[in-house]
């Protein structure tokens, strides 16, 4: 809203007790005009695909037919998904992947941020080194880790065998029981610098005088952290956790490149499974139904993210 408009509207606002929705919309008409281009673009690139995905989720597309020849099946795709064993396995994998990755990346990021919040020689260099996993390409990182983990000529296996710790290289990504934890380690390695940066920024907001006062009052390091530092990090922590959770829920590159969801679907998470259903198996309808379910979950997370963001802003202001 321009300053001129605000000034012109000022008497109107003062006179009316409680302007209605339309009145407020008219008052703020300039704001709507400013955001109109963005809304149009959003409608084209987001709203239409969402609508089309929802529509597709009610159709089936056999391998011998084009997408345009799709057959209406109502809610069959949803019931097919919810009664399939793979769905529950992939969902469990997705939640394990998201929760463990988010928690571990946050804790590691917090620890590193706290360590780097103190002055010491080489702090800048160390900070730069620690950011590397986050800035390098996820594709390159996935290939490197695939090689590091390789069950026959992987770096970790070779080191362990040469040190006499194991007889044969450990099986990281070719076993159904170890593949997901192994991929989570890679994901945490890539994500913790993001949490670190966010929390380092948050640590700048902790008033130094409060920490000094706590020390004067005899608080130990843990007490200072828990009663002074951490409360100041709550806003940024919530936002960081939500951003990490959303990003992890949508992960694709690491599991797809390193294992393609295998072996035996043990590392399939929702996004990789949807990709395989759509592009590998051309089950556009089923993949769309999966996407709709994922969309609902993401919107719920998004709602909490916006709420947390608003809460953090209010806290900052207040």
């Amino acid at each position: 809203m321009t300053l001129a408009t605000r000034l012109a509207d000022a008497p109107l606002r003062e006179n009316s007790k409680e302007p209605g929705v339309l009145q407020r919309a008219w008052i703020n008409r300039a704001d709507y005009l400013y955001v109109l281009p963005s809304i149009v673009v959003m409608l084209i690139v987001i709203a239409y695909p969402i609508y089309y995905t929802i529509e597709l989720s009610f159709f089936t597309t056999p391998p011998s037919l084009q997408l345009r020849d799709k057959i209406f099946v109502g809610l069959d795709n949803y019931s097919l998904i919810l009664t399939s064993d793979v769905f529950w396995r992939v969902t469990a994998n997705t939640f394990i992947w998201t929760i463990v990755s988010t928690f571990a990346a946050f804790v590691l990021g917090l620890g590193t941020a706290l360590a780097l919040n103190h002055e010491f020689v080489g702090r800048g260099v160390l900070r730069a080194i620690l950011i590397i996993p986050w800035v390098i390409s996820a594709v390159a990182a996935s290939y490197i880790w695939k090689w590091i983990y390789h069950s026959n000529f992987g770096v970790i296996g070779a080191v362990l065998v040469s040190l006499g710790i194991t007889d044969r290289p450990p099986n990281f990504i070719d076993s159904v029981s170890t593949v997901l934890p192994s991929l989570i380690v890679v994901n945490v390695w890539r994500e913790f610098p993001f949490a670190m940066i966010m929390l380092m920024a948050g640590l700048q907001t902790v008033p130094d005088q409060l920490l000094r006062a706590a020390r004067v009052d005899g608080a130990n390091a843990w007490q200072s952290f828990w009663h002074v530092t951490f409360p100041h990090l709550q806003g940024v922590s919530t936002v960081t956790i939500l951003l990490l959770a959303v990003s992890n829920f949508n992960s694709f590159i690491i599991p797809w490149i390193m294992t393609g969801g295998g072996p035996s679907n043990a590392s399939h998470i929702w996004i990789t499974h949807i990709y395989e259903l759509a592009f590998g198996r051309q089950r556009w309808g089923i993949a769309s139904a999966y996407s709709v379910l994922l969309f609902i979950i993401m919107m719920t997370l998004g709602y909490f993210y916006v709420r947390a963001l608003s809460g953090a802003e209010r806290k900052d202001r207040g």
Binding site: P63, S64, N152, D174, P263, A266, F279, G280
Partner: protein, 494 residues
């Protein structure tokens, strides 16, 4: 499960080669235009270098050499597992085409085997495909069935259908119509390291005769030397997996459908037959019971087996003659003791026929690629330059270039390629070519149905992984795969 006449014939002592030749010929056409039984290494040597071809003149009759046009082209190109020699031929091909047709603006895009199908399907959904595509042999029918491809037969680009392998032509046919022209056709062989065999107490000059022998040899190599015996590959979404498992499946008398029978109709699923389960059991025995194959088999492609083999860490594997050149390329990167090791391995590289099943049945995937022209409505821009498209297809499938583009690894799609001077040169240069040529009569094409890519790239590897990881028993994995194929065939359920 039905007992095939074909199997009975083998039991009666009919030679495997002749039977398989009959099988391949009859699967394609009622009156076989190519007598595959004569395609022995001796026959190939006898015809090599007997005829000259002028590619520019031949293709000039299809599309005038001064034709001005524009062409978009996607193709399955060279990848990390291919030799440098092949890379050079690809470069030479495009340079030669541009020189011959200087006024055709060719915009080509190379994609790897495992990426091409996904990208092509996605592009077609948005009507943004290329005008011409070169697809792997199992892909064409899917797109023909969906109506994306134009009818196209060798006669449209100046050749005769009889100039191409019947099995290859069959992979281009859907409901009696032809939708493509073969560029190359391949059959693989068993490669082994004679030095490893010797150190493991095996005859260094003798390939395992049967798949049961492969299991035994693999265990012996692993137990004696502590290295992997056989280069099993069970990665999902990778062409290498079906190319290596299906020969084993067929040799045991099994199959996905009845594709190994003389007249397949693909109506009965046989992945859960006792014979198919035996084949799966053999893989299970090697991976789980004996632990005699690379642990990384579940994520490996053949390209991952190559460095293991070169490092002397793998006794046997299935691959092309080009692997010999790949080893030479990899050797160039080695230094010090690694170089010495690599030299020893290359010296001890041996090629043999793919083993038979317990009944003496020998089989190999009849692989390769085909060129297709898309319908204009699915092409980026909505137009197809027919003349330019035919010029390119004529050029690639010519005797000269179908031979050169398959120089190190496979066979020319155009049979006249065998008659060129380059074939003669190739016989002298490419070691072990005879072995893969000897495998040609045993070649079995993948089922020519639209569901084949999903079955081969997803269901078959899933079955292997389910059994090898212990997620399911061998029986359960085979039954699960059968159920999945039933679902696919009955309208595309999961």
């Amino acid at each position: 499960m039905t007992s095939f006449g074909f199997n009975r014939a083998i039991r009666r002592g009919v030679s495997t080669a002749a039977a398989a030749a009959m099988l391949m010929s009859s699967t394609a056409f009622a009156a076989p235009p190519v007598d595959l039984s004569k395609w022995s290494p001796e026959y190939v040597r006898s015809i090599a270098g007997t005829k000259d071809f002028d590619t520019a003149a031949d293709c000039g009759k299809v599309t005038p050499l001064d034709y001005k046009g524009r062409l978009t082209f996607w193709y399955q190109g060279v990848f990390e597992g291919d030799p440098d020699l092949l890379r050079q031929y690809y470069k030479d091909f495009f340079a030669a085409f541009r020189k011959t047709y200087p006024n055709i603006d060719l915009q080509e895009q190379a994609l790897t085997y495992n990426d091409l199908l996904d990208k092509f399907r996605t592009a077609l959904l948005g009507n943004a495909g290329p005008m011409v595509v070169r697809l792997q042999i199992l892909g064409g029918v899917e797109f023909a069935a969906k109506g994306y491809l134009q009818e196209l037969k060798p006669e449209d680009v100046g050749y005769s259908t009889e100039d191409f392998w019947p099995g290859a032509m069959k992979s281009n046919m859907w409901k009696g119509k032809t939708y493509g022209v073969p560029t190359n056709n391949e059959t693989m062989a068993l490669i082994w390291n004679a030095d490893v065999f010797k150190r493991a107490g095996l005859d260094p000059d003798k390939a395992p005769a049967t798949w049961d022998d492969v299991v035994k040899y693999s265990k012996q190599i692993h137990d004696k030397l502590g290295i992997a015996g056989y280069g099993l590959v069970a990665r999902k979404n990778a062409g290498n997996t079906p190319y290596r498992f299906l020969p084993q499946l067929w040799a045991y008398g099994g199959g996905v459908f009845d594709e190994a029978s003389p007249n397949p109709n693909y109506s009965k699923i046989q992945l859960n037959s006792p014979a198919s389960k035996k084949a799966l059991q053999a893989s299970y025995d090697m991976y789980v019971r004996d632990k005699s194959v690379p642990v990384s088999a579940l994520t490996n492609q053949q390209a991952d087996n190559q460095p293991l083999f070169l490092a002397g860490q793998l006794g046997m594997m299935i691959s092309h003659p080009s692997d010999y050149d790949v080893m030479q390329d990899l050797k160039k990167k080695a230094t010090g003791s690694d170089l010495q090791k690599a030299e020893t391995v290359i010296e001890n590289m041996r090629y043999g026929l793919i083993p038979t099943g317990p009944d003496g049945k020998r089989a190999v995937v009849f692989g390769g690629s085909n060129m297709h022209i898309l319908k204009p409505e699915y092409v980026d821009g909505g137009k197809v330059d027919q003349a330019a498209a035919k010029a390119l297809i004529c050029f690639w499938t010519s005797p000269e270039w179908s031979l050169k583009m398959a120089y190190a690894g496979s066979n020319p799609g155009n049979l006249n390629g065998f008659k060129t001077k380059w074939m003669k040169e190739r016989l002298d240069k490419i070691k072990f070519l005879d072995v893969t040529t000897s495998m040609l009569p045993y070649g079995i094409p993948f089922p020519t149905i639209p569901e084949t890519p999903e079955i081969m790239n997803i269901v078959v590897p899933d079955m292997l992984q389910n059994a090898l990881t212990g997620s399911m028993t061998v029986d359960q994995a085979a039954e699960d795969a059968t159920k999945k194929i039933q679902n696919i065939m009955s309208g595309g359920k999961l």
